[in-house]
């Protein structure tokens, strides 16, 4: 995948733009992506399967007469690609025009060069993935657990974006992450994760050790009593929660009444301790990227500042609907955050625990489901270490509780944030945006339980 590959990406993308323009399209954006993905699954301390994916694919957004079409295809044979695009554009004539439409941003633009987001070694890393898994497995087992399961997953390649707005840009990037879950017994579990742009920045030993240590600590347990507790959320839990805090600012979700942030722009929605930033320009950031899907240069957006909701996230279409400017978060249909940062506080991790009189540490929160997206009422399954803290000491795990509260309540009741922020990405982050997070302490969080 040398520089000749960029030429191929530009060439295919430009051909698609030309096909669409000949069919009467006005706005066309094409993303060409070529990459190698690798993946190792393991369970019971042994490998299950090694996966390799060789991808060349295209996604196209077409605007014509205030109508919008999105096409994705992996059939890149010239004739079938041409036919697919042409037939798709032909179908647009049946669509009613959108009441709100905006053209693609007019470039060309200058883009930031984000350092350290590509590691060529991840193109050919079959053996290295096994080595990474083995380090994590051994680290967890050395803490005294019985068994572990997890994945190591990498991707490396390049993407090109060509638009009728004068954008012609290609960039390489790579990612690798490891997720591991350790079992000290049937229900005593711990979770660890590490993610980076390069093989050398990955820390499988830390992830394995954390998973193993928490699993062993969770062996000593009591049944949890439902009620309200002060909580310190661990980073795996916050990976999920912060992804939702960020995505709920997507302007399309506001239009759809699918967010508790509806009507709350510039209002206080969180504790003054909370500042949430979308920062796609962070060097070596796991979610960093220089441009959005419409070609705008990405930028650092402060979503929540000292508790106040400062902006919704926009693409060109939602920006027009809100009489705002795009925040460079396109998503052709759904605006989305790229790399969410919870601004760190001053305390050390340990100090949060030491200062807690009576409460819980919730290490991981999964399977989060809303009762009502507009109100933010939700519940989530908590696991991988739900520890009771009394007078600053962890006294053991509590089991059988379910996190059950409201998103705005959680944000409003934050009372402390630690200072060590770590990149997090794992399977249960269902909104699929990586985050950088310290620990977060919250007053008066609700928990329910099955009583039979």
């Amino acid at each position: 995948m040398g520089s000749e590959s960029f030429e191929k990406g530009f060439s295919i993308s430009q051909k698609i733009v030309d096909i669409a323009l000949r069919k009467g399209a006005v706005d066309v954006a094409v993303i060409y992506n070529e990459e190698v993905g690798r993946h190792l699954r393991f369970s019971q301390n042994r490998a299950d399967i090694a996966n390799t994916w060789l991808y060349k694919r295209v996604a196209v957004c077409i605007g014509k007469d205030k109508r919008v079409l999105v096409v994705e295809t992996e059939d890149l044979q010239p004739e079938s690609l041409k036919r697919f695009i042409e037939e798709s554009v032909d179908a647009m004539k049946y669509l009613p025009p959108r009441p709100v439409y905006a053209p693609l941003p007019e470039g060309p633009f200058e883009y930031s060069v984000i350092p350290s987001i590509y590691d060529e070694r991840l193109l050919t890393a079959e053996d290295e993935l096994v080595d990474v898994a083995k380090i994590a497995i051994d680290s967890a087992l050395s803490e005294g657990v019985k068994r572990v399961a997890g994945v190591v997953k990498s991707r490396a390649g390049y993407s090109c974006l060509v638009t009728t707005g004068g954008v012609n840009v290609c960039s390489r990037d790579s990612q690798i992450y490891l997720e591991i879950r350790a079992f000290a017994d049937e229900e005593a579990t711990g979770h660890g994760t590490t993610c980076s742009r390069s093989l050398s920045d990955l820390d499988p030993e830390r992830a394995g050790t954390e998973a193993g240590r928490d699993a062993v600590l969770a062996k000593n347990f009591t049944k949890g009593e439902p009620g309200r507790y002060d909580v310190i959320f661990g980073r795996s839990a916050l990976g999920n929660l912060i992804g939702i805090f960020g995505h709920m600012a997507s302007a399309l979700f506001i239009l759809m009444q699918m967010s508790p942030y509806v009507g709350k722009l510039n209002q206080k929605i969180a504790s003054e301790k909370v500042t949430l930033i979308d920062d796609p320009l962070m060097p070596a950031g796991y979610g960093s990227r220089a441009y959005d899907d419409e070609g705008l240069p990405t930028r650092r957006n402060v979503i929540i500042e000292n508790g106040f909701l400062k902006t919704y996230l926009h693409n060109r279409l939602t920006a027009k609907a809100f009489n705002a400017k795009s925040t460079a978060n396109a998503g052709w249909i759904i605006p989305k955050p790229w790399y969410l940062i919870l601004k760190p506080g001053d305390a050390k991790d340990d100090e949060l625990i030491e200062e807690m009189r009576d409460g819980l540490i919730v290490k991981n929160a999964t399977y989060l489901r809303f009762q009502n997206y507009r109100t933010g009422d939700f519940s989530a399954v908590i696991r991988d270490g739900v520890f009771r803290v009394k007078n600053g000491e962890v006294i053991g795990e509590v089991r059988g509780l379910r996190l059950s509260d409201n998103l705005l309540n959680v944000l409003s009741n934050v009372y402390q944030i630690s200072r060590e922020a770590i990149p997090i990405f794992h399977w249960w982050m269902e909104w699929e945006v990586p985050v950088v997070t310290p620990l977060m302490a919250v007053h008066n969080v609700g928990f329910t339980s099955a009583t039979i």
Binding site: H39, I49, S88, Y94, P96, E187, M256, Q257, M258, V381
Partner: protein, 472 residues
């Protein structure tokens, strides 16, 4: 049908792998095409056409498994080599897995399609969405998010043990997300339609009638709903609720890969252990099956993605754990035959154990008879929020359409009753099963990388004795 040159490519991939001294090889060409329309508050947001197609190869080398895929036919050799290289790289920590012995042959199957959805004009599809939107708007629904999708999955599968299977399944689905805001209060509901077949299914959906009824229910709930009672009581759960419970608390924990820990890092494991076959977990009136062979169902297939012929699986029989869901890897470990539960959502995904259409077999009671048998309790017809822990033991369902039961009759609506219950307690508390079996379509997500496959959730109404409605 998959074009001949692509079938040749599949045959070639298997031969090529066997020529490189693997113990087992299979290859699959899979095309997944879909067209979707999205409407927000009466306006078409976008039309989406997606075509995902390519070839995958899976090999076993000395008990180590490798998988690779490519969407470029010129890259097949590289994919074969990558699969083998991956398998060999794992040898130092591999499980020494093997596959169950099965009988294979040549077969093909298709879903029954009377009117191809691709031939239906976008105008007609938009007309349907517009009529649903207008009706919901007339009913006062504040926000309407609607979608309509048709898809086609074509597969050609070959393995080194003599299997050649060609499948072609067309599906249609429709969804509505409705939000009603009244003053400071709001409520949300989801309506799902779907199955395998053509546009004739859409014509039989009664989408409008269902949205109309649910819009009325939402209004009544906000205007007249009272706080739910708490504590121990009898319940009736409607088919919509029971269907999802069958999927979540019988289907998933009976997946043999979860039981063996293969999903432990992601979706989780299971409270069910291998030695629990034959153990009573529910009352005698409960029998739960999973059946991919139901014509017209979302989970329809006749051969799985390992070439094994599909059949009905009786997971729980009269309250006793009867059978797990297997692919060939787990079947070999349990010393049984595969029951054809291996599915793959697209060409670039390994086949893993999945449900198809999971449901409780119906009983003899009408819903009215179930309700008549309760002096004081609650009937939960529909739910919004739900989740279940990763051992599939402790689950929660929050009712969206629910009513008090007084002296055997439905009374006032109640808002958001919370049923939080363990799996054995749920199945043991059922004393009567209705005859009103109904199915709801859905997508089941599992594994890393994620695979979403279409399924049906099915259930009749059931009556539960002495369970607790809770909350904080």
């Amino acid at each position: 049908m998959i074009p001949g040159e692509l079938k040749d490519l599949v045959e070639y991939a298997v031969r090529r792998a066997l020529g490189m001294n693997v113990d087992y090889a299979e290859a699959r060409y899979q095309i997944n095409r879909s067209t979707s329309l999205f409407m927000i508050n009466g306006n078409i947001e976008a039309l989406s056409n997606v075509s995902v197609a390519g070839i995958s190869i899976r090999v076993i080398v000395n008990g180590s498994m490798g998988f690779a895929s490519t969407n470029d036919p010129k890259n097949v050799d590289k994919a074969v080599e990558s699969a083998i290289k991956g398998a060999k790289a794992c040898l130092k920590i591999s499980k020494e897995l093997r596959l169950s012995e099965e009988s294979f042959g040549e077969a093909s199957y298709t879903s029954k399609v009377l009117k191809r959805p691709e031939d239906i004009s976008p105008e007609e599809k938009i007309e349907l969405l517009s009529s649903v939107d207008e009706l919901a708007k007339e009913k006062g629904i504040t926000s309407r998010n609607l979608s309509l999708r048709n898809s086609r999955e074509q597969v050609y599968y070959v393995n080194s043990e003599g299997s050649r299977v060609e499948g072609d399944v067309t599906r249609v689905s429709g969804n509505a997300t409705l939000t009603l805001v009244m003053g400071a209060e709001s409520t949300q509901e989801f309506v799902e339609k779907g199955g395998s077949g053509g546009w004739e299914l859409v014509e039989g959906w009664n989408f409008l009638e269902e949205v109309s009824r649910i819009a009325d229910v939402m209004k009544e709930c906000l205007e007249k709903g009272i706080s739910p009672p708490r504590g121990k009581m009898d319940l009736v759960l409607g088919p919509y609720v029971v269907g999802l419970m069958m999927h979540e608390s019988t289907g998933h924990p009976y997946e043999a890969d979860r039981i063996l820990g293969r999903e432990a890092a992601q979706a989780g494991e299971s409270f069910v252990k291998p030695d629990m076959l034959g153990t009573r977990i529910g009352s005698e009136v409960v029998t739960v099956v999973d059946d991919p062979t139901i014509e017209g169902s979302s989970g329809f297939y006749l051969y799985d993605m390992e070439g094994v012929k599909a059949r009905r699986r009786i997971l729980m029989k009269n309250g006793i754990i009867n059978e797990f869901l297997h692919n060939r890897e787990t079947a070999a470990i349990f010393g049984v035959k595969s029951n054809a539960a291996a599915r793959a959502s697209s060409y670039d995904r390994e086949p893993i154990i999945r449900m198809a259409n999971t449901f409780m077999l119906p009983g003899d009671y009408s819903q009215d008879e179930l309700i008549e048998g309760i002096k004081e309790g609650v009937f939960i017809a529909r739910f919004t929020e739900w989740n279940i822990d990763d051992r599939r033991y402790n689950q929660r369902y929050v009712g969206s359409e629910a009513y008090l039961i007084k002296d055997g009759k439905l009374d006032k609506m109640v808002k958001r009753p919370i049923l939080e219950i363990t799996t054995p307690a749920f199945y043991s508390s059922i004393d009567a099963v209705g005859k009103d079996l109904k199915f709801t379509p859905g997508l089941c997500g599992k594994s890393d990388p994620g695979q979403a496959v279409p399924v049906w959730f099915g259930g009749p109404s059931v009556r539960l004795r002495g369970v607790r409605l809770g909350g904080i």
